[in-house]
Symmetry: D2
Subunit: 344 residues, 4 copies
């Protein structure tokens, strides 16, 4: 009953097998055929010429993505609970030199209104305040909800009108994609996204994160920034092999569908148990539930792993907020066992 | 005949098998049993309480190692051809805020004299010049030579007398270790090394680099610097599994011995061919040779892969300097084929 | 009727005369007698061995002060409207590598409770969140209010218990000091302040800002950070001369008393006019008033200079919030003229 | 007999008087009439639309100038003894994120050949090595020599052909200008300079340094970088007043001519004394002489102030190298007294 995080799972069998199959020598630093083929594969998938750079962590993907959109005095508008603000140890500030401007919002989501209000704090322009240079959206959000393409487009539109770039933190990109049943292009550049942190680690790989530049003109500067950030992995094909297996035959989408289905099963079970309520309706692979403290302790005692959650807004008064994360590897029997323990 | 770099090899069979064997869930971010057991294993190996942090690249290991020794205005003394100076895209300057002070030296090595002279440039102390805060040694060096423990101790001693720390870039640590036939402790902290970049990638892993802190008191600050640098890998056990298999039963030493033996075979063959000479006597897994331009072209045409080498000092007048790197995976038959092509 | 800012005034006559009197040659970079004598004078004033470094802007003083308290992953807790957060163009983040954690609060003030709550967000400790390393108080605050020594001590106490340092942004230090009628020592190190940005520019100088280290042991590292930040002024005595004249015979306190008295006169006049109300009771040299929009426009048309003010909290619903700043040079007749225009 | 540095002199009488004449209130942060008029005056002087930003130190001017030319992985080519490399405490690396590539050269000068060779070290392009993004020339050089406009143009031309920018460190701009008897435009943008650190402090001001952007399109980003670097001075008119008086009626040129004449007088006297020789022929306001150790000690004992000089190249074997700097305020009698002491 490990619902602590989707990064607790191992790699999926096909990904693991692909790694095990790698032998012989190959050019390093991304000049190998496998790395190139993954980039081509992603061009096809996104229906556009893009450039892809592998990195080792989601934090690195976010830092480099935002660095590519930065200007002196730059401020990045994001949700108050965004991973880049709350969970990356100050990396974006220290490495990309950005200030992060967190805005509150229901269900972990930015809206046109909240983004507009944040931008308005920097108007009229004055060097004293810095200037908003990018919006960063998390898809799926930290609350397991998703932005519809029209919501993304609305936010991107206001960003564009103020000369700002749009970043998507896609650590759980695949979970959002299958939830919305749209194409990768619709969920990104067609809606106005400039740079994407595309993560595969949480959804079946060991260590396979990347930055996708929808504008290849950014790639030259990015390549130097990538090396300078200590993220140019020498044996690049070991990341490429994971991505290749992950994308092959829709494996990534299958994994994501399973994880999302497990989250729904868990949410339904909690509601049906009559012993808790949902903090927000799950749209991807995370469930936020409010339970009695005694139930939380009982579940922990039974061996269930999950984290308490502290939202940036007001804490619920009627119980304890917990976060439960499912993955491609979650066993339905575990879900049912958890719900059984809760129901008592 | 791929002698371009030891980072072109795949992972070794035991390392690959260990990765393939990983399943189930485990705590992330280094809290898993496997990561902890690797740290304990390295404590035993180094005969001391140490702290170990995994990172994804050798550049990251070097940046974080040096950051742990930095002070405002800090200057790092290193060889003029050191990887941190010549091949890391400005990462140390940009991320650790250090200036690198490169000093020339035979066979890629610093000496007590050259280090003392470099330190002397900052005496008497003045804020205008910055201040030397660390010496960084590469072991084995960029020229495939090694520092004997007494040489390290001599350099560390002068560093210590000026209040400086000592870093060892051990991207090819194992190659140096078996070349010298000393213990890991003798080659590091017993000789005065404070922080080690311990690399396994070039010697049999896919992506297994680390920083070893010989003073555990540095670990608290380091842990935050590690996260902030975007190097805290979520599924830590996938690095741990590589290290565990690498260390198991002396596999890493076997790998290094093979690589070194292949370099000697290559060097001997070149000399015996009468068609080239060595730039420096090989002591680890790299061979620097001076060949006629026509021979270099012929070898390339025959399919051999290697790089021309530009030393920071004067180029040899009588031919072209090339670098040939061997690895745990180098086949003696390849070496012989290369020598055969050279001999013509 | 220039109430836009206290940095619009010229230097006071004694300060100007002191500058005009400087001739001849003198050692540069702070080694001159005048610079040393100012440091000694401040030691006497603060009743303690301190170290003083001159800088050219208040932002520089704040950045270097906070840099001296930083650790990797460090977060600085400050008021949501603090100058370091709202008005320094991202300097603290970019140069000191800190994240700023702004907390709301009445009258521009932090309290033990709000600081404790902010610190609590980082407990239990986890590298993901970063760690609180300092509290920064503004004295007088951005709202022209002041912290009493016991309030400072309360906040410093909770900071100390969590291993954090305490910074005071004293751009308007003298205005707070005379408002409280306490000693410089009581308002700083006796209450737990570690590092002070001591500004003289707004209160009678041209360009005289400084960092006061209450712990001289920090000075060696600070000296290098100071130079590296491009703030080591060559002709140091020109800053020293300003400070010397400013401190001489209580000139700085006289200036501050006048500025504060002018703010009270202005506030009283606004209240008495019956055409506005105070947003907060003035305790130093700033007045925040809520006026009708039509009155604001009329005052602007009459030639009065002041800024609209956007608080981080909710804007007042019943009028427009403006900020009026007085200085040592404010003429009571100007104040009366302003009030006369408002009264209509 | 103070020849230690031109930053030991006070401000000149006209500059001092201009400061003393400033009264009343004025907009801050550069929005005042005086600051604007200095910018217009400099546009006229440079015969071009330019943008000017005031800063408090030469280091700040250099850091911000180079930051404006930076790209990720950027390397700045400069002389091995350049102030930015040897005397700015690591500021350029830490603040602009650049690596400095120092090249040796006679008389403190870069040449087309040495610059070409430095650039060649980064060819073919590879992210590992970083990339040269700017050349920085010091005019007059650290050795009191000057670049002729055609020499600047030659270096700028090779920089341009490799996509690099050109920075001039003009801490002693006026000394070079009168030495060459050319126009400011001929010595800068007409020869290919993009960004100039224009210093007035050493030549008659207290604290008046600036960055001149020859391409106004760089100004928007620069303004934010300027603020973020803690260099936006609030009472800007106090810098502007210094520049205005300095430029008025050719005062700056008179000052520079005097300083240069004093250097020639000093150099001639040393040669004529038969007790020393020049290390390099003086072309501005610095004299580098090689004297016997006993003469150096005797001069020091007589009260003369000057610094020993350590060149990056080989030290002279036949004596001690010292640096003597003259200024607008140097009294010919002091020069003669120094020469008299030397002659014995």
């Amino acid at each position: 009953m490990d619902f602590a995080s989707d990064n607790r799972a191992a790699a999926s069998a096909p990904v693991s097998a692909a790694l095990a199959a790698l032998t012989g020598t190959a050019p390093s630093y991304g000049a190998d055929d496998l790395t190139r083929s993954v980039e081509r594969r992603l061009c096809d998938l996104f229906e556009r010429e893009i450039r892809v750079f592998f990195v080792s962590t989601g934090t690195a993907a976010n830092v480099l993505s935002l660095e590519s959109l930065m200007k002196p005095g730059g401020v990045v508008v994001c949700h108050a609970d965004a991973h880049i603000l709350a969970d990356e140890g100050g990396a974006v500030e220290a490495l990309a030199g950005a200030r992060l401007h967190g805005v509150p919002g229901e269900a972990g989501k930015l809206t046109v209104d909240t983004v507009a209000r944040a931008i308005g704090r920097y108007l009229p322009a004055a060097v004293h305040h810095g200037r908003p240079v990018a919006v960063s959206l998390t898809q799926a959000t930290e609350y397991g909800t998703v932005y519809r393409p029209d919501e993304i487009a609305g936010i991107a539109d206001i960003a564009r009108r103020h000369g700002m770039g749009v970043h998507m933190d896609g650590a759980r990109f695949s979970n959002a994609l299958v939830s919305l049943d749209v194409t990768p292009a619709e969920m990104t550049w067609k809606a106005g996204v400039d740079v994407l942190s595309l993560g595969a680690t949480k959804n079946g790989c060991w260590c396979a994160e990347s930055v996708v530049l929808f504008d290849p003109a950014r790639a030259e500067d990015f390549a130097y920034a990538h090396k300078r950030s200590a993220q140019l992995i020498s044996k690049s094909r070991f990341v490429a092999a994971q991505f290749a297996a992950w994308l092959e035959g829709g494996h990534w989408l299958e994994n994501a569908r399973h994880a999302n289905a497990m989250a729904r099963r868990l949410a339904d079970g909690i509601v049906a148990s009559g012993r808790g309520r949902l903090f927000v309706a799950p749209e991807a692979n995370e469930v936020f539930a409010i339970l009695d403290g005694s139930d939380v302790e009982r579940l922990e005692a039974s061996g269930a792993a999950f984290y308490p959650w502290t939202a940036s807004g007001d804490a619920p008064a009627d119980g304890r907020l917990i976060r439960l994360v499912t993955s491609f590897a979650t066993d339905p029997a575990e879900v049912d066992r958890f719900v059984g323990h809760l129901a008592g």
